[in-house]
Symmetry: C2
Subunit: 168 residues, 2 copies
């Protein structure tokens, strides 16, 4: 490897293998790291969320109003999700992972009643344990509309994916 001053070509051309891998990672993921901006300080915050894909292929999260990321997304809808292929044995950097940049929208019970109901069904199918608290007044579903992503499928296998690439 050479120093990066030469701007080496590190991205491979996005192909169907990369797209399929991205779709599979999104479909199977039950947990992700979410990056948001801390309100006030704008510090980048990494937190944990449980997720599921909606029927439209966009990620859904179910989060509490008491959480830091809820307040963060209310103040700034820009966020990203880190999803990963599987668990870690040996070197953690050998496992494929993907950063997906998204815009978050809260599926408000009053103004997005139907969308919330559809999202709820898709979410609970993937995360049945969440039925225990999904209807608490403090919890809301959010849809994360994907804008673009970077997929790192292991050393030397990096791809850039568009919103179009990310949908099945």
């Amino acid at each position: 490897m050479s120093a990066s001053q030469d701007k080496p070509k590190v991205l491979r051309e996005t192909d169907d293998v990369a797209r399929s891998q991205a779709h599979a990672m999104l479909a199977y993921a039950r947990v992700a790291a979410l990056a948001t901006h801390e309100p006030g300080t704008q510090w980048p915050l990494a937190s944990r969320v449980s997720l599921a894909l909606g029927d439209d292929g966009q990620p859904l999260i179910l989060i509490s109003r008491l959480s830091a990321h809820f307040a963060a997304l209310e103040a700034d809808a820009r966020c990203s999700l880190l999803v990963s292929e599987s668990e870690i044995e040996g070197d953690p950097l050998r496992v494929a992972r993907m950063t997906v940049l998204c815009q978050a929208l809260r599926l408000d019970r009053a103004t997005h009643t139907v969308e919330r109901s559809v999202a709820r069904a898709a979410f609970l199918k993937h995360q049945p344990e969440a039925a225990m608290y999904a209807d608490f007044g403090d919890f809301d579903f959010w849809r994360l509309t994907m804008e673009r992503a970077s997929l790192n499928a292991g050393f030397g296998r990096a791809y850039s994916l568009s919103a179009h690439d990310l949908l099945p």
Copy 2:
């Protein structure tokens, strides 16, 4: 649970149990999510890093100059780490996790020679597989000086930790 308009008291008083749990999570973690700002857009980015604790108790990461987070930290040293207790069975939100807000410093080979060497030894003890690429010209160790953290040890068990609480 009630709506958050009343500003319910969601944080417990930080005690030695919470501090010990935080220390253990940091000491055992081999992988973390890192939140940074994307240069140019300031979009929050969540990416994966491997990590180890330095002898001073501060987290160390080893990252490539070709990665998005390297460029991000060069432009803005503010970041956060998400570390987690263990792997996921059942509801992912039942597993303890912690967001640690940090300031990143690159341990430059020329200007931080001794610190880099000490960091390298601590890192490779915890991540022996990284010996394969730790000395490549494209890789650098960074020290993440911890400022504060939020520990979520499961439903109803949330704590705020200071820089002092986070060090052993």
